[in-house]
């Protein structure tokens, strides 16, 4: 027996208290559904594959300052020495670090000329060991040859003779046509041949819209700053970081600014997203707790107020189970009513968030999960007061005091 009628009429005698809990449930649903959705978005964003061997690579920055500093000679000798270390898979010069927040971007065209449509690409300058050092497998074409690596020092507009591109960049520029062998033009009409295509590589800026539209240029860095990428055998990375730092420190004509694993840059770039995840997580937990407490409070209040009625019902034959069921059903009704309002609020809030802050639209299954969570929470919360109610002695009905 669901006793909906009596439940509803009893609730209406304590309208305000019931409405208060319903509102709490509604707001909690709206917040929890949207917060959980945002958390999932961010976690997904943070788990995107970098495309390079992030677990095993580390990066070096060197700044040459002494007068008459021969940057090319130092770079070559540095890399030779690093490559000779046991445990090093490969090492290369590298202009900037993926997902570090710093890098270079340019526009590229299929045909030369001012009016040709352009595509943006995030580019990294490497040498002939670059793709092995980064750990980006080729899916078409070949690596750079040593003679293709440009060594011009100083400001220059010279393009490179060859480029390696990611699949996504190739798709942006060439559509579904194969890219290897095609010409790519810079803004000054200079051409480079696409010699290879790599599967995937993320660029410099974590919030970029076309994060994986990346190119590799064969070029050594221009002084004063030189950066290297070193790929270690699995498990050797941290030991090698210390070794490389020690090795390079012997040259006092330059400052080895840092030697860092990719994790350092990834953590820093994703900090804002991690913050959001933690904050929203804490908020969800506290909000559910608070609403749960509200339910407990209301139920306790109702039990107290109805002590005589419950005693009377027990005296005329209601079982303990019936009393328990009464409160569980009442709570379920309340939660459902609150959830109905909450669903509207959740979608309205989600709609506003996605417009105002360019977030994706709230996925409905988060709202459904929220409703489920609140049902379970409500039933659990009402259990203790309900059991207390069920334990009320029928003798109360006959007492006048």
């Amino acid at each position: 027996m669901l006793e909906l009628g009596p439940i509803l009429s009893a609730l209406s005698r304590n309208r305000v208290a019931a409405i208060l809990v319903m509102l709490q449930i509604a707001i909690t649903l709206a917040v929890v559904a949207n917060a959980a959705f945002i958390i999932e978005q961010r976690l997904e964003k943070m788990s995107r594959p970098t495309g390079i061997d992030s677990d095993n690579v580390f990066f070096v920055q060197s700044y040459g300052f002494a007068p008459g500093y021969d940057a090319l000679a130092v770079i070559r000798s540095d890399l030779d020495e690093i490559r000779a270390l046991p445990g090093v898979v490969a090492a290369s010069a590298l202009s900037s670090i993926p997902l570090s927040g710093g890098g270079s971007q340019s526009t590229y065209q299929i045909t030369p000329g001012e009016d040709a449509p352009t595509v943006e690409g995030n580019y990294f300058e490497i040498d002939e060991y670059g793709i092995e050092a980064l750990g980006v497998p080729l899916v078409a074409g070949r690596n750079f040859r040593a003679d293709e690596v440009q060594t011009d020092q100083g400001v220059t507009s010279k393009f490179v003779p060859a480029v390696i591109v990611t699949r996504d960049f190739a798709r942006d520029l060439f559509g579904d046509e194969p890219a290897v062998g095609r010409q790519v033009y810079d803004g000054l009409g200079q051409a480079a041949t696409v010699v290879g295509v790599i599967e995937n590589m993320q660029g410099s800026w974590v919030n970029a819209t076309r994060l994986t539209s990346v190119l590799l240029h064969p070029r050594l860095p221009t002084p004063p700053i030189a950066r290297y990428v070193v790929r270690a055998q699995p498990g050797q990375r941290d030991a090698l970081i210390a070794e490389v730092e020690h090795l390079l420190a012997s040259n006092r004509d330059r400052v080895v600014t840092w030697v860092r694993p990719h994790d350092w840059f990834l953590d820093r770039s994703y900090k804002p997203d991690l913050r959001m995840v933690v904050f929203l997580g804490v908020l969800i937990v506290w909000m559910l707790l608070l609403t749960g407490l509200g339910v407990v409070g209301l139920a306790s209040f109702l039990v107290r107020v109805r002590t005589r009625q419950i005693g009377t019902r027990r005296a005329v034959g209601a079982t303990r189970g019936a009393i328990l069921r009464y409160f569980l059903v009442e709570n379920w009704l309340l939660t459902t009513a609150g959830a109905v309002l909450g669903i509207l609020l959740a979608f309205a809030f989600g709609h506003w968030l996605s417009n105002e802050y360019a977030l994706p639209r709230l996925a409905p299954h988060y709202v459904a999960l929220g409703v489920l969570a609140l049902w379970i929470l409500g039933q659990l919360a009402v259990l203790v007061p309900a059991r207390r109610a069920a334990a009320i002695s029928p003798a109360i009905a006959t007492r006048t005091v």
């Binding site: 305000v16 208290a17 208060l20 809990v21 509102l23 709490q24 707001i27 909690t28 709206a30 917040v31 917060a35 945002i38 700044y63 300052f65 002494a66 007068p67 001012e114 100083g154 400001v155 220059t156 507009s157 010279k158 810079d186 803004g187 000054l188 004063p224 700053i225 420190a249 006092r252 330059r254 400052v255 600014t257 820093r268 900090k271 804002p272 991690l274 913050r275 959001m276 933690v278 904050f279 929203l280 908020l283 506290w286 909000m287 608070l290 609403t291 407490l293 509200g294 409070g297 209301l298 306790s300 209040f301 968030l353 105002e356 802050y357 360019a358 005091v401």
Partner: protein, 440 residues
């Protein structure tokens, strides 16, 4: 009477300890969360140079690509930096009280020969004209900045930050001493006190909450010594750039420019000057986009550059929704508590207390809860911000609870308490004494 209400309130709170604790906890949680997010928001959106907001202006000019604006979603805004040529041209006008052109670079510091324990280290340099220090009100520990002559002659002089002076000279008065940067000797003319405006309003391009640069030197040195740019460089035009000179003459934007204009008349004159200058340049084929020169105050500049991230706004909004749930919880608790004390209230009414006396007494009680909850909430916020520090690892100065936020937290707490108490107090004041005096 107030002392009497206070005693009554305290007694009432003691009578139902569980509910009292829960009510205080409800406010405390809500205030804790709100104060945490509000503190970060407040620090992020603060104007560190409020006292000079009326006279400082960021100068921007739209010489960007005719085919697309700098901001695709806000096409009325010019790019945030100027070309080198334009900055040099603007430096020549004396309409503004002061003016500054600047950009970043890096150098290696070689500590004095005596300090062999410190290896050479890399630091960020701000190349700037001399008015920087007066315009942005930088505090000096020793010495001062440099004058216009030093700018004109590109003298090798530097102003050090407190930290750099510590690292290179051990913190002594190093004015007059020599510091070796990138293999060249510079004379120290000034040392700043600890100065890290939050946000770094004068250059928001790389990190609005980054620390200030560690060394300052005359802008012209960047040209004479061909010092590499370390900030954002953006170029829209396909130009042949094969030398540093060609880079300086190009349409690439990478220079930050600010002016100090002490009166509305000067603002008008400077705006007219900017427009006339761009008009001239247009005749030379430059500035293909429609005329759009802006002078933006610091407060507006911070808005334009969207220093406060959307995430922060969303978090503040969600905290207030959390506070709303706390408020609803409190109303329920207070209702239960006050109506539970109905017999006592009835007794007092029977003894002659007026309705307003009942209301006042309960307001005091609710106020007590508000204050207690507020204090507890601020403690929670303190812990929350301390925990947040790890998540704001580079930006410790964003998680500091200052006096203003303490005040705001308490005010919100008491206000929330009062708001929550309104309906319960109204209900209890309408209690019919006879009903409760009858039942035992």
């Amino acid at each position: 009477m107030f002392a009497y209400y206070l005693r009554l309130g305290l007694a009432s709170l003691r009578r139902t300890p569980m509910i009292t604790v829960l009510t205080i906890a409800a406010i405390a949680l809500g205030i804790g969360v709100c104060t945490t997010t509000l503190t970060v928001y407040h620090l992020m959106s603060s104007n560190p140079i409020e006292h000079r907001n009326e006279v400082l202006y960021a100068v921007t000019m739209d010489g960007w690509d005719p085919d697309q604006p700098w901001h695709s979603d806000r096409p009325h805004l010019p790019p945030p930096e100027l070309t080198y040529r334009d900055a040099q041209a603007l430096l020549e006008s004396d309409i503004s009280d002061r003016r500054v052109a600047m950009r970043k670079t890096t150098v290696a510091v070689e500590p004095a020969e005596a300090r062999t324990d410190v290896a050479p280290f890399l630091i960020e340099v701000r190349l700037t004209t001399g008015d920087f220090f007066a315009m942005f009100d930088t505090p000096f520990e020793y010495g001062s900045g440099w004058d216009a002559a030093a700018d004109a002659e590109a003298n090798r002089v530097v102003v050090l930050s407190e930290e750099t002076n510590e690292k290179a000279f051990g913190g002594i008065d190093s004015v007059g001493r020599t510091i070796r940067l990138d293999g060249r000797d510079y004379e120290v003319v000034g040392v700043l006190k600890d100065w890290n405006p939050t946000p770094k309003f004068y250059d928001l391009n790389n990190g609005p909450f980054d620390e200030s640069e560690e060394i300052y030197m005359p802008f012209a040195l960047g040209e004479t010594q061909e010092m590499q740019p370390a900030g954002n460089v953006n170029c829209w035009k396909n130009e042949q750039i094969d030398s540093f000179r060609q880079f300086l003459d190009s349409e690439c934007i990478w220079i930050q420019f600010w002016v100090e204009l002490g009166s509305p008349a000067k603002v008008e004159r400077f705006q007219a000057f900017l427009d006339a200058y761009v008009g001239e340049q247009k005749k030379l084929g430059r500035f293909p986009r429609p005329l759009n020169n802006r002078l933006d105050r610091v407060s507006d500049w911070l808005d334009i550059n969207e220093v406060v991230q959307d995430d922060n706004r969303v978090l503040v909004g969600l905290s207030f929704m959390f506070l709303a749930v706390c408020l609803l919880n409190m109303i329920g608790l207070l209702l239960a508590k006050f109506l539970g004390a109905a017999p006592i209230v009835s007794l007092r009414r029977a003894l002659g207390a007026s309705r307003s006396a009942i209301v006042k007494q309960h307001l005091v009680e609710v106020g007590l809860i508000g204050v207690a909850g507020g204090i507890a909430g601020l403690v929670i916020a303190g812990f929350g911000l301390a925990a947040l520090e790890r998540l704001y690892s580079q930006y410790e100065h964003l998680t500091r609870l200052d006096v203003a936020m303490l005040g705001v937290g308490l005010v919100i707490a008491v206000a929330t308490g009062m708001l929550a108490g309104l309906y319960p107090i109204w209900r209890v004041s309408r209690v019919q004494p006879a009903v409760y005096l009858k039942t035992q």
